[in-house]
């Protein structure tokens, strides 16, 4: 029997071969340039954030001491439609690594933490980690000290990092889709007559650093999404394309 196509999602990748600091944040001819002048504005945007350090780690040069790794985030932007359909642009060859600590030196993690030398604290080339050929934008947040460990600290860290990524997304949105390095089409479909299979993913929803943001406005984003905790941890169903279009921001 023929498949019934429900909707289409196209993910266009733009490969980045060089990441550097410069006078203006731009993406031009496979080079991503980041303007450090953004940092003070980001620091001011969150009351709980004391300071932010951005560093560029070149492929393979990962012997750097970092605070606990809170997340690895792809840089993706919605160009047409909403999460799960239309067109998404994403960068390959570069990923954002979010790390966090507070002024008192307390790592932003609860059940074991991963601070240490990055090359020893991460297995590269997994689905959830960069490969050794990738650039890493290391976004390190220092939060205000002396505060009780709460969800607010984790949320502020992700929110401020999302603001940084949004600046990149706004550029990525305007890139000429015809010039992408790769385009992949995905379909939500009904395979009639075949066995119905459901994937269930049990995800964290117990508190600070045990949280997930569902269906943000931008792929793998934060803003516009709802926390699984705030939704009472009840099951939410996503279409396959919604899930693969970055419907979940992990805050674990």
């Amino acid at each position: 029997m023929k498949d019934t196509i429900l909707r289409r999602l196209v993910i266009k990748s733009f490969h980045i071969e060089q990441v550097m600091f410069g006078k203006k944040t731009t993406i031009h001819e496979n080079t991503l340039t980041i303007d450090k002048k953004e940092i003070p504005l980001l620091e001011e945007s969150e009351e709980l954030v004391k300071s932010i350090q951005i560093d560029i780690l070149k492929p393979g040069e990962y012997h750097k001491y970092t605070n606990t790794i809170m997340d690895i985030i792809p840089i993706s932007a919605k160009v047409l439609g909403e999460i799960g359909e239309g067109i998404t642009h994403t960068l390959t060859g570069v990923y954002v690594m979010l790390t966090g600590v507070d002024e008192d030196g307390r790592q932003m993690s609860e059940f074991g933490s991963s601070e240490g030398f990055l090359d020893e604290q991460m297995v590269f080339d997994r689905a959830g980690t960069p490969s050794i050929k990738d650039y890493i934008i290391h976004f390190d947040v220092t939060l205000k000290g002396g505060l009780p460990f709460s969800r607010e600290l984790t949320l502020a860290t992700h929110r401020v990092c999302d603001r940084f990524i949004q600046n990149l997304r706004n550029i990525l949105k305007n890139m000429d889709g015809r010039k992408c390095s790769e385009a992949n089409e995905y379909y939500d479909r009904i395979r009639s007559g075949k066995k119905n299979v459901l994937i269930i993913k049990q995800i964290a929803g117990q508190g600070a650093n045990y949280d997930n943001q569902i269906l943000p406005s931008e792929p793998s984003g934060f803003s516009g999404g709802r926390s699984i905790i705030d939704m009472g941890n009840i099951p939410i169903i996503l279409s396959p394309n919604e899930y693969r279009d970055g419907a979940i921001r992990a805050m674990t």
Partner: protein, 156 residues
Amino acid sequence: MGIGPSTKETTLHHFRDPLLEVVSNDEDVNLLGVVVVGTPQSNKEKYYVGKRTAVLAEALRADGVIISVDGWGNSHVDYANTIEEIGKRKIPLVGLSFIGTQAKFVVTNKYMDTIVDFNKSKEGIETEVVGENNVNHMDCKKALAFLKLKMKKNER
């Protein structure tokens, strides 16, 4: 009692999740969707969300379920309960979990007979190394193959 650095799934992991890739690309099955369910604090709530998940699977007329978990210890309480609720509804299921030597199930039931352990560390422990104890393509292919067998058996 939840998620350690080596078992946590990063946002990038969700974006290129091997589980979705393997199941959605298999032409023998019709993927209904991806359910995400949280892990509340109290046992009463754990049972509440677990049952809702199972009723959802039943309402969708799922012939089979693959259920994964991003943590262990306390998270396995939720996991075992949700599996039991699905199992009671006679829906064949396969689990994916980090177990190793450190994370043996704290609670178990008769429906937890097919769980693929995605531990990758030599010692079978939470190594605090990001990306280490995560599912890969092979784990997911194994899980789907087991599920196909279970669904076939269920037909008879």
